[in-house]
């Protein structure tokens, strides 16, 4: 042990040494700097390096691609369901299989597509947007991705092995309980929840800290891009809501595996406990999916209308208030369960109130178009499609917020129409728009404009054809989750139209994928800032270098790239011989700490494998909790155990 005389002396020695270290700045910049940074930040080559990477851009890309693959898979299930429902008393798909189909469709879309894809986009773009070199906790970020991947694979492999869940994505007890769901189908579903919760919560913490602590100097909260604001709110919502479903599904598993009585109303439990816990998560979930999309819309509108979003503070406030209100609405999923009627009125009021912030946001976007010079490029078309479609969904939402109306419409195809208008119109349209928008930044090439426009119209019209008739199917008395319906109720026509529309949408999505793949090789090469946008992710090359920015930019307004005169102000002095990022203060974003960035490591991957084995085996034996926890603990310790101090004078945690 070489104990120094005192810590003070040690500090002075370090301070002296520091002066010698190579840092970016006037003396060291341009190609020379970029070469050295590239050297420092590159990840080890080969398959191991691929697994060990902590680069937020790689992880974000994997997140997005995986989520889109799950979207495709879930879409295929939807087509199968539409085929079965194309005509009355159809026998194409049996009851059991159909129940598995809609369970898989719902679970895949909610847990394996919608939330992860938003997180993926954020993980990729947020660090660029706030002008830093890495996310906070990049290893946790990698871990989050692998947990998500394994959860999804488990669900789909189980489905392929005919152990797919058949209890609906909401898994109401007692139907999902030990007596009425024999076998392991329900456990597979519940454990998939655990996987995706762990992943989503990790990603939420990563984004939360990245947005609060790593913003470029001068990017005060009041200058933060609206997408960053949306993701900040979403991260907090995830942190508060997802523990609820994790708790509920753990209780379900223990009911099924070790005979606890949480949901058994004959042993002082209560079947409704599940619904309360599930919807306390389930309703915020909808906004967790929707708010990032509003961020997309703000980004696109700003760029293509050449105007900062109108009434920025109002938009921020409505994001925050939506996030808060979302936790007060869950009971409106339970209007038919016979809870006290008077209590319902409160939730009706709350459910209607949540429409106000959204309405204000919509006004702000429209006002931005009014003020600006809108250009109808493909991303902008998707924004228009978003408004035309989402507003319908929002208004039907107001309709079903009313108790007397909901009692008729609840669990009918009217609801199916409503939430597809909200989720596809409100989240998927902006997502497609933002993919087109950020595609050049991610790949360095532009997507085909012509194909893009055809595609938009196919998706948009196909969607209306598929889902508008469902409103009528519901009003004509078609309940959800039925694998067939009798002739003579007037349901034939709406269902047929929906099926046709579904196939139009599917082919359009296929075209989108084709466009994406072709443009990857044939697309026009993109400049650093092809859209002439205002935010920092466009201040670096497309695709960005592994270290994102050669110098950390300084922000002086809400639209830095529009307001800079000629040159972009930057701060200097980060190490180039070692991975380092700049921490700033939470509100004012003044430089605070030079944070060493962890090296690439295999341990996050190994840990996720260990935890995965732990989770899956605990479906089959309660003892897995014991023997599964040990390897997980070892992996986590190895993950956090720092290497020997090899780089004086500034040892780096890694």
């Amino acid at each position: 042990m070489n104990e120094p005389a005192t810590v003070r002396d040690e500090d002075e020695r370090l301070a002296r040494e520091r002066r010698k270290i190579a840092r970016d700045g006037p003396k060291l910049n341009g190609a020379k700097l970029e070469a050295r940074l590239g050297q420092t930040w590159r990840r080890p080559p080969g398959i191991l390096g691929w697994l060990a990477t902590v680069d937020h851009k790689e992880i974000g890309r994997r997140y997005i691609i995986t989520a889109l693959l799950f979207l495709a898979a879930g879409g295929v299930l939807a087509l199968l369901m539409r085929l079965q429902l194309a005509r009355p008393d159809n026998n194409l798909i049996g009851a059991q299989r159909y129940n598995e189909l809609f369970t898989m469709h719902g679970s895949t879309m909610m847990f394996l597509f919608a939330v992860p894809v938003m997180e993926g986009v954020a993980v990729y773009i947020i660090p660029l947007m706030v002008g830093t070199r890495s996310t906070a906790f990049p290893r946790l970020n990698a871990f989050s991705y692998y947990m998500y991947l394994f959860g999804g694979l488990m669900l789909w492999i189980a489905f392929a092995l005919n152990i797919g869940p058949d209890i609906g994505w909401f898994a109401y007890t007692p139907l999902s309980g030990p007596q009425f769901s024999p076998g392991k189908r329900a456990d597979i579903w519940a454990q998939m929840i655990t996987f995706t919760e762990v992943a989503a919560l990790a990603a939420a913490v990563v984004l939360f800290c990245t947005i609060l602590k790593t913003r470029a100097p001068g990017m005060t909260l009041a200058r933060m891009p609206l997408f960053a604001w949306a993701m900040l709110v979403v991260a907090v919502m995830i942190i508060f809501s997802m523990p609820s479903v994790a708790l509920a599904s753990s209780m379900l598993i223990s009911d099924r595996l070790v005979g606890t009585q949480f949901y058994n109303s004959f042993e002082h439990g209560d079947a409704l406990l599940w619904q309360h816990l599930f919807w306390f998560f389930g309703h915020p979930e909808v906004y967790i999916i929707f708010l990032p999309a509003t961020g997309f819309v703000s980004v696109i509108t700003e760029t293509f209308c050449r105007r900062p979003i109108f009434a920025y503070p109002i938009v921020v406030l409505s994001l925050v208030s939506t996030g808060i209100l979302a936790f007060g609405l869950w009971v409106h999923h339970m209007f038919a369960t016979g809870l006290p009627r008077v209590g319902y009125s409160f939730y009706t009021a709350a459910s209607m109130t949540v429409a106000i912030p959204t309405a204000l946001q919509i006004f702000c976007w429209l006002a931005t178009m009014w003020d600006g010079r809108p250009r109808l490029a493909v991303p902008m078309l998707y924004v228009i499609g978003f408004i035309v479609t989402f507003v319908i969904g929002g208004l039907t939402g107001v309709i079903i917020a009313s108790v007397p109306l909901d009692l008729e419409l609840h669990d009918t195809y009217f609801i199916v129409a409503h939430f597809h208008y909200v989720l596809i119109g409100g989240a998927v349209f902006p997502l497609l728009g933002i993919i087109t928008y950020w595609y050049p930044k991610i790949t360095g090439r532009m997507m085909s404009e012509r194909l893009g426009k055809i595609d938009f119209w196919m998706i948009f019209l196909g969607f209306q054809l598929a889902f508008f008739p469902m409103h009528f199917a519901g009003l004509l008395g078609m309940p959800r989750r039925v694998y067939t319906y009798p002739a003579g109720l007037g349901l034939e026509l709406p269902n047929l139209l929906s099926t046709i529309g579904a196939f139009v949408v599917a082919s359009a999505v296929l075209l989108f994928v084709v466009n994406g793949i072709v443009s990857l090789y044939r697309g026009a090469v993109a400049t650093a800032n092809p859209w002439g946008a205002a935010s920092l992710e466009w201040a670096t090359s497309s695709p960005p270098p592994v270290y994102n920015f050669a110098h950390i930019p300084v922000v002086e307004s809400r639209t830095p790239l529009w307001d800079m005169v000629g040159e972009l102000p930057v701060v200097t002095g980060l190490r180039v011989d070692d991975k380092e990022m700049l921490l700033t203060t939470v509100v004012a974003a003044t430089p605070d700490v030079r944070e060493p960035v962890p090296e690439p490591s295999l341990w996050p991957f190994i840990a996720s494998v260990a935890v995965g084995i732990f989770f899956i085996s605990s479906i089959f034996s309660p003892w897995a909790v014991v023997f599964g926890a040990i390897p997980s603990a070892i992996a986590l310790i190895a993950w956090f155990w720092p290497k020997e101090i090899k780089r004086h004078p500034e040892p780096v945690i890694s």
Binding site: P174, A271, L366, E408, Y483, P494, W531, W562
Partner: protein
């Protein structure tokens, strides 16, 4: 253009609906409760449509006002932070408009809700409806227990008489929903819910379980016949009668099989040894309109099919495929058809 397409799509199913006499439609308007729904729905529809038109109008105006063509992405120097003062007042106006609209709707909804609760006060007929996977057991309650009886998958209600239906479940959560009469109410094991209905139209209405309840959720329907008070009394008295004894030798053979063999393990038939409680009560089975909770219409052919192989027609139903010999099948069907 896109909205015209939407309207077109909207129209077609509507026509399809009108041609159909609201057998299972929420617009059936056949009870006080359903009427409440219709009025309220129209109010909401009008308000929401107005809001929607406002948004779309503003959208089109905003897009057309200073639309750019071509691919130039330049920003207008030092003007890109300006905004039309009109918009500031517009924002306030918009907030006020949306707020007041929502308040109006909330009040309308609340009033409707209260008035329904009020209607529930004084019922004159009480029915206990118990849901099973996947059929409905109905018990018509009466003060004197000899006057209570069971029937299944078919309710008869007198027009204009407030009826209170008590809702229980024997297994999982189901939901009672007859769209033309009233909104839905869940049947939850270990809890008792209830729903009040005051029919205002004579007619035949179909209902269906509205909460996913397992494999055959799609085949868990029930028929509600609303009839004049006299007809209802006639039906009610008839239901109290035991099953008629078999007349023909074939029916007698069927009687012997039904009461002596598998059937009686699950089904009860009033006035016979058959006293099972697992399946629907068959006392007046043949007088009902459908077989197996709305899976198929009551007809000799369907009855043959159902008795011969229920698992083929409603896979997973609790009723087993017994594998009857042809003569047994003939006899059983013959007997069942006497259960008027």
């Amino acid at each position: 253009m896109r909205r015209r397409a939407g309207a077109l799509v909207a129209l077609l199913p509507l026509l399809g609906a009108c041609s159909y006499q609201h057998y299972q439609s929420a617009f059936g308007n056949a009870a006080v409760e359903a009427r409440q729904f219709n009025i309220l729905f129209v109010i909401f529809l009008v308000v929401c449509a107005t809001m929607y038109l406002a948004v779309i109008g503003f959208l089109i105006a905003g897009l057309m006002r200073r639309r750019r063509t071509g691919n130039a992405n330049v920003i207008e120097d030092r003007r890109h932070h300006e905004s039309d003062p009109l918009m500031r007042s517009g924002l306030i106006g918009w907030a006020a408009l949306v707020g007041s609209g929502l308040v109006a709707l909330a009040i309308a909804s609340f009033v409707a809700d209260r008035s329904m609760a009020g209607a529930a006060a004084h019922e004159q007929l009480s029915i206990t409806l118990t849901a099973n996977q996947w059929w409905w057991d109905a018990q018509y309650n009466a003060a004197d227990s000899s006057k209570t009886f069971h029937t299944a998958n078919e309710l008869h209600l007198p027009v204009g008489v407030p009826v209170r239906i008590l809702l229980n479940s024997n297994d999982v959560i189901h939901s009672f929903w007859v769209p033309s009469l009233a909104g839905k109410q869940d049947l939850i094991p270990g809890r008792q819910n209830d729903i009040s209905i005051t029919p205002r139209k004579v007619g035949l209405f179909r209902g269906q379980c509205a909460e996913f309840c397992g494999a055959q959720h799609a085949h868990m329907a029930l028929v509600v016949e609303v009839e004049s008070y006299a007809d209802f009394l006639k039906w009610w008295r008839h239901q109290l009668q035991p099953a008629p004894s078999p007349a023909t030798p074939l029916a007698l053979a069927g009687y012997n099989f039904v009461t002596g063999r598998n059937c009686s393990a699950c089904h009860a038939i009033g006035g016979t040894p058959a006293g099972g409680t697992v399946g629907p009560d068959l006392t007046h089975f043949a007088s009902r309109r459908s077989i197996a909770a709305g899976t198929m219409a009551m007809s000799t052919g369907n009855l043959y099919g159902w008795v011969a192989d229920p698992q083929a027609l409603k896979p997973g139903t609790k009723m087993p495929t017994i594998g009857l010999e042809p003569d047994q099948l003939h006899a059983v069907v013959a007997y069942l058809e006497t259960l008027q």
